[in-house]
């Protein structure tokens, strides 16, 4: 037993090294901020570093001891990103306080709590024995719970920026859309896996496009439609876009037909055009995207500020703590990427994107080597969820696509987002643990 443990203990060394690097990033970042503030180290800072490093290293070690799979990349990337998120939260806190008031009183501490809780959650998911079956068999239950939560939020939720996205649970605020992400991916994975052959076969042709048999696609579309509709009613367009992207990706994986994707994009285009007409708040977003300079102090203000921040960053960045990222509204949630772009420069931004690219590669690799179809779809779906979210928000903040209000996974300040992302990571690790070894040809 000890022998096996000992032999297993060294299996995740690469991950350990990478975690050390992540901790170093955290330490250097915190050190820069402390030096800027006058060089006063607090016990809290030390505690944070120790706790962070300790938790992740411990998780890694425990994973190693359990003899799980070969994936050694996802956890360090997540640790790196969340460490960066903590550093940024701490960097932005005093500026936000000065600029916008006491609303942003303790975001640094809160983010630390969220990240550490996320790590604990990750550990729980990884080590508490649960069956994948539970996801499969109770999929409607899970989805119904999620939709119910979202519906409750739509009615009883806290209104912020014109949308009711948050449910106030006293101690903290929950954003039900986040867990709905996982539940939807799970549901889609199970459903598509069940009906894989049926959907894969092309029964109808519409013009030059093939369509899957309608009786089987229809419930799927309805479920998705309900989800998306609820989101649209709540005016959470970022989540709607994300869910749609995930849906299309998983559909493509199952059917292998690019034409379905094309049809889906057309439908999305039509929906967007309809939205543009019906919802008043879509138009300013689109106008701000097309030319933020047209109304630089009104609709386009946020984007102009973000572009200016990016321009200020240059290649090497202005330096952590030397930029003015809080001039961009929502710089701790939606526009962290602009803050990173400003203070860490092109290099930092591209580095961040590389992290997400690596995450995607690793996630899809896990999907490829999954034990069964369901897990493959699940892994691919979860990876797509995280990476697509990152794509949507980074493209939005840099004015490549119209801005939508979603968070940068792991980096943005936000409890629900961080926790749910760690949960997804946990499931991915679980799947990777169950991976088939690579076929030896």
């Amino acid at each position: 037993m000890i022998h096996t443990l000992r032999s297993r203990a060294g299996t995740r060394l690469r991950e350990l090294e990478l975690l050390i690097t992540a901790s170093l990033l955290l330490i250097v970042g915190l050190g820069t901020l402390i030096a800027r503030d006058g060089g006063l180290v607090r016990w809290a800072d030390l505690a944070i570093v120790v706790a962070f490093t300790g938790l992740f290293v411990a998780t890694s070690f425990a994973l190693a001891l359990r003899g799980w799979g070969e994936d050694q990349l996802l956890l360090p990337i997540a640790a790196l990103l969340s460490g960066l998120g903590m550093v940024l939260a701490r960097r932005l806190e005093p500026d936000l306080l000065a600029r916008y008031g006491s609303l942003y009183g303790s975001i640094a501490l809160k983010q630390v709590i969220w990240v550490l809780s996320g790590a604990v959650l990750l550990a729980l998911i990884s080590f508490v024995p649960w069956r994948m079956r539970w996801l499969r068999h109770y999929r409607y239950t899970w989805l119904a719970c999620g939709l119910l939560l979202v519906a409750i939020t739509a009615v009883f939720g806290v209104e912020r920026n014109g949308a009711r996205l948050w449910l106030d649970l006293g101690l903290f605020q929950l954003q039900p859309v986040e867990p709905l992400k996982i539940l939807l991916v799970v549901y889609l994975a199970t459903y598509l896996d069940d009906r894989r052959n049926l959907i894969g076969s092309s029964a109808y042709r519409l013009g030059g496009m093939r369509l899957p048999p309608l009786p089987y696609l229809l419930p799927l579309l309805i479920m998705w439609g309900l989800t998306a509709g609820l989101i649209v009613v709540q005016k959470d367009l970022g989540a709607a876009l994300l869910f749609f992207a995930v849906f299309l990706a998983m559909l493509y994986l199952v059917t292998g037909q690019a034409s379905y994707v094309a049809a889906g994009l057309l439908a999305f285009g039509a929906g967007a055009w309809a939205l543009y007409g019906i919802f008043g708040h879509v138009q300013p977003r689109v106008d701000a995207w097309r030319d933020p300079w047209a109304d630089p102090f009104g609709a386009g203000y946020q984007m102009v500020q973000a572009l200016y921040a990016l321009a200020n960053g240059g290649v090497a960045g202005a330096g952590l703590g030397f930029g003015d990222p809080t001039s961009v509204p929502e710089s701790h949630t939606d526009f962290v990427f602009a803050a990173i772009g400003e203070e860490l420069g092109l290099v930092g931004g591209v580095g961040l994107l590389l992290c997400y690219a690596l995450f995607a590669l690793e996630g899809y690799r896990i999907a490829l080597r999954s034990r069964d179809g369901f897990q493959q779809l699940l892994a691919a779906g979860l990876t797509t969820a995280i990476v697509a979210q990152a794509l949507i928000i980074t493209a939005g903040t840099t004015n490549l696509i119209p801005l939508t209000g979603i968070t940068l996974p792991f980096v943005s300040y936000g409890g629900s987002s961080t926790l749910v992302n760690f949960m997804m990571l946990g499931i991915l690790l679980r799947i990777s643990a169950a991976n088939k070894p690579p076929a030896v040809l």
Partner: protein
């Protein structure tokens, strides 16, 4: 069944593994220690309790930029740094500090027209209009093609209502600098000159505005009023006809044309125009008075009485009220 070779290999592998493991653990521990050492020692005042970090002043980066520039000897860089901080002060509303910094930037780089312009705006925000004007003058002297300075100066002069000659000259210059908006500038120049009663120059300005934009209804209207004041009723009515064709819902154009027609003796035309004007703007006291007067002249006493009654309900200003009273007297006397 493992051969001795295999066993040796396995041992070697284990040792290699163990060594790697030790190295890596050592590196990890070293890194941690280094990070602790890097942080330095401070008072052990408990977890989470300690003096809050000094808040970074919002102009921190500007100050550092200035410090950096002054360390060097590049006057232009220093001027740019001071200019940047002045801009930040201005944005925060600290206009006095902004003026100071702009002053320093100007000292270091006197040919910077933008700094003069911005300082003038800061003066204007503080209500120091003479200094603002002086700075605008400096800006335009340095760069006679600095459109923004001219625009700001005309804004200032329009607000303070002073020096109409200079205002007119500025509009003229703006028309030269911005040919795309020449019509608007020439029109405003015409309005200022019109107010000065320099009718010839005003007419030239309106003509220029209409040359740039033949559909500039405001210029047509004002030129018509000019012609009317000079007694050229034909031209006035022609211009007003054009203006009304372009803007059929402009009540005051109908009103002006009504007065012009009445001056020419065309009472029925005047009444038609006044009816149109009142249809568009029913509570216009001047139009009501005009219609009452012209109707009375034409002999339509009921119309005059009705209009005067409605005028009374509107409680017009003293002059109109007095004229309405005189008209009422005339109405009563046969």
């Amino acid at each position: 069944m493992s051969t001795p070779k295999d066993r040796r290999q396995a041992t070697a592998d284990r040792q290699l593994l163990a060594r790697r493991w030790r190295l890596r653990w050592a590196a990890a521990v070293a890194g941690l220690c280094a990070s602790v050492a890097l942080s330095g020692c401070s008072a052990l005042s408990g977890l989470g309790i300690g003096p809050t970090p000094t808040p970074v002043p919002p102009l921190y980066r500007y100050d550092t930029a200035i410090a950096t520039a002054e360390a060097g000897a590049d006057r232009e860089a220093q001027a740019a740094a001071y200019y940047a901080r002045a801009g930040a002060h201005f944005e925060q509303g600290d206009y006095a500090a902004a003026i100071e910094d702009y002053g320093r930037a100007i000292e270091l780089d006197p040919a910077n027209a933008r700094a003069h312009n911005d300082r003038a705006l800061a003066h204007q925000a503080l209500g120091q209009f003479e200094q603002a004007l002086a700075d605008f003058d400096a800006a335009t002297r340095i760069d006679p093609a600095y459109t923004r300075a001219y625009k700001n100066r005309v804004a200032l002069l329009e607000v303070t209502g002073g020096d109409p000659e200079r205002l007119a000259a500025d509009y003229g210059r703006l028309a030269e600098l911005e040919p795309a908006a020449a019509a608007a500038h020439r029109y405003r120049q015409g309005v200022v000159l019109h107010g000065l009663r320099d009718f010839a120059a005003a007419r030239a300005a309106y003509d220029a505005a209409l040359a740039a934009d033949p559909q500039h209804v405001d210029a047509l209207y004002e030129r018509a009023l000019l012609s009317y004041a000079e007694g050229r009723l034909q031209d006035a009515i022609a211009d007003l006809d054009r203006a009304i064709r372009l803007s059929p819902r402009a009540a005051n154009a109908y009103y002006a044309r009504a007065l012009a027609r009445s001056a020419r003796g065309d009472r029925s035309g005047a009444l038609d125009d006044l009816t149109a004007a009142l249809a568009l703007d029913p509570d216009n006291p001047e139009a009501l008075l005009a219609r009452a007067a012209i109707a009375l002249d034409a002999g339509d006493r009921e119309q005059a009485a009705a209009d005067l009654a409605r005028l009374e309900l509107l409680a017009p200003d003293d002059q109109l009220a007095a004229a309405a009273d005189a008209l009422r007297q005339k109405l009563r006397a046969p």
